[in-house]
């Protein structure tokens, strides 16, 4: 598969602050890559370089076969950005129609994209009167008019309800099947794990891990043990191989490398312990371990 995005050695500085310190990133045709990392990791700076809004120093940055600083290249992208407010005066039809005109597409392309994103019937509505979820879909409809070879989606499912999210991913899956590449940032780690072929973890401006969701999960030796037990947290925390202990909804949640030993000791201490599950670490736990950040990962 050919690359629809190739970034090598991207450095971006804001004054003395280095937001990106030599990032490499690729997305192939038909591949969905999720970009994860804590607040301030450099994800938005990376995305803005990819879509040509800002310009860092890179050995190579090639998007859809061209330079993202060139308008012709950017017209081959479909982009959903965060915190976009539509003009008060324009309707859905006029906004997507305008996007089609800017990309040199016929008006029918706008109608198709509107229908694809489930906005048919809303063409004459002012965009600002749409719900947050509908506005997200409208932005994606703008990006879909020209059959983009790369979709760059920054928190695209923010504000979408379950049904809208399902429809959204159905559209993205279809575009992936048709050969488009997708680069997505999301704070919904489970969603990223479910939809991404590959996950790239970025922290403090560097790529700290990369692989399929399963590969990343395997990098963390911890197992997650959940159990209802009367054994005090302080006692469990003192056991060998236990890394962390939390109480959640009446259950004790333990992260430990030697789960068999921990479970055996727990049952010795509390034979009535029940509701016991042992699972591999979640992707979110992997990310916390990789980045040493406990806050929400976005």
């Amino acid at each position: 598969m050919e690359h629809v995005l190739e970034v090598r050695g991207l450095v971006h500085r804001y004054g003395d602050h280095t937001a990106l310190a030599g990032v490499d990133l690729t997305v192939k045709s038909g591949e969905c890559v999720a970009l994860l990392g804590p607040n301030g990791a450099g994800k938005t700076t990376l995305v803005r370089n990819v879509i040509g809004l800002i310009e860092g120093n890179a050995d190579l940055i090639e998007v859809a076969g061209g330079d993202p600083r060139r308008a012709e290249t950017r017209r081959r992208l479909g982009v959903v950005q965060q915190a976009v407010g539509f003009p008060r005066s324009l309707t859905v039809g006029e906004i997507v129609g305008g996007a089609a005109a800017r990309r040199g597409c016929p008006p029918e392309a706008a109608s198709r994209a509107i229908a694809e994103m489930g906005l048919a019937g809303l063409e004459k509505r002012r965009a600002v009167t749409l719900s947050g979820g509908q506005q997200q879909r409208l932005q994606l409809a703008m990006g879909l008019v020209a059959d983009p070879v790369l979709l760059v989606l920054d928190e695209p499912t923010e504000g979408l309800d379950v049904e809208a999210r399902r429809r959204f991913w159905k559209t993205i899956r279809r575009r992936l099947d048709e050969g488009a590449g997708v680069l997505i940032t999301t704070h919904l780690v489970d969603e990223a794990a479910a939809v991404a072929d590959r996950v790239v973890v970025i922290d403090r401006g560097r790529v700290v891990a990369e692989g399929t969701p399963d590969e990343l999960r395997r990098t963390l030796p911890d197992r997650r043990i959940e159990v209802r037990t009367k054994v005090p947290v302080s006692v469990i925390r003192a056991l060998d191989s236990v890394h962390s202990v939390d109480l959640r909804d009446g259950r004790t949640v333990i992260a430990a490398t030697d789960s068999e030993q921990v479970v055996s000791t727990l049952l010795d201490l509390d034979p009535e312990a029940n509701d016991l599950t042992v699972a591999t670490a979640s992707l979110e736990e992997v990310l916390v371990a990789l980045t040493n950040h406990e806050e929400v990962l976005i």
């Binding site: 308008a71 950017r74 017209r75 539509f86 005066s89 800017r102 703008m142």
Partner: protein, 240 residues
């Protein structure tokens, strides 16, 4: 394709003005109302006619081209809409020139309103002269839109309105566009020759009364160059 993009951008800008007309209502109404007020007060024997169309017209056209493009740009920037346009591959020059172009019909409406009031208050006007004055004012006002865009690239919409009005009102008064320079203290009146609105009004006035043209044209060309540099620098350092 650029023509189609430009048409689309101009259409969007015009729709924004037509569908959200409140601000423009005052932009258009105020110069016409000012003209009506002063023409009523001083019109009889006061020389109000095509000549005053040049000075009040200069104020009217400046109030449109100096405020609308900049405030529109500031609004688009703050909303993130400018980011969408850039990511869409819309050439910056097209976006900016569409904002200026969309202001022109409203500048013409303002001038037509002033001409209409002049017709009723001061009597019949020489139509070719009126058309020449309007043409000169509309073309000559274009450099001022560059300053408007420079402000719009740097400030929030509400701050842009304040800054642009702070540029507009003193400069039109000191250029003698509201009342004759002779009514100002001498030292204030002497400032006028350094102000671009003065040269715009004098250029328009020369279509009625004759007189030197090229000195005013040169001054406006210089204004255009300074405005273009200001707009380019402001936009380069602007956050989108």
């Amino acid at each position: 394709m650029s023509t189609r993009v430009f048409r689309t951008e101009v259409r969007d800008e015009l729709l924004a003005i037509v569908r959200e007309p409140t601000a423009l209502f005052f932009t258009v109404l105020m110069p016409v109302a000012f003209f009506a007020l002063f023409a009523t007060m001083f019109g009889e024997g006061g020389g109000f006619g095509v000549g005053s169309l040049a000075t009040y017209g200069a104020f009217g056209v400046l109030s449109v081209v100096l405020t609308n493009p900049g405030v529109g740009l500031a609004d688009a920037r703050e909303r993130g809409w400018l980011r969408v346009k850039r990511a869409d591959g819309t050439p910056l020059g097209v976006t900016l020139s569409a904002k200026v172009t969309a202001a022109l019909p409203y500048a013409i409406v303002t001038l037509a309103g002033i001409a209409l009031v002049a017709r009723f208050i001061t009597g019949p006007l020489d139509l070719p002269q009126v058309l020449r004055v309007i043409g000169v004012l509309v073309l000559g006002a274009l450099p001022f839109s560059l300053f408007s865009l420079a402000v719009g690239a740097r400030f929030s919409p509400s701050a842009a309105i304040s800054v642009l009005n702070a540029m507009l009102i003193p400069s039109v008064i000191l250029s003698g566009l509201w009342f004759p320079l002779e009514m100002l203290p001498t030292w204030l009146g002497e400032i006028a020759v350094y102000l671009p609105p003065y040269h715009l009004a004098q250029l328009a006035l020369s279509q009625v009364e004759g007189g030197a043209v090229w000195g005013h044209v040169a001054y406006l060309v210089g204004t255009t160059i300074v405005g273009a540099i200001a707009a380019a620098l402001a936009y380069r350092s602007a956050e989108v």
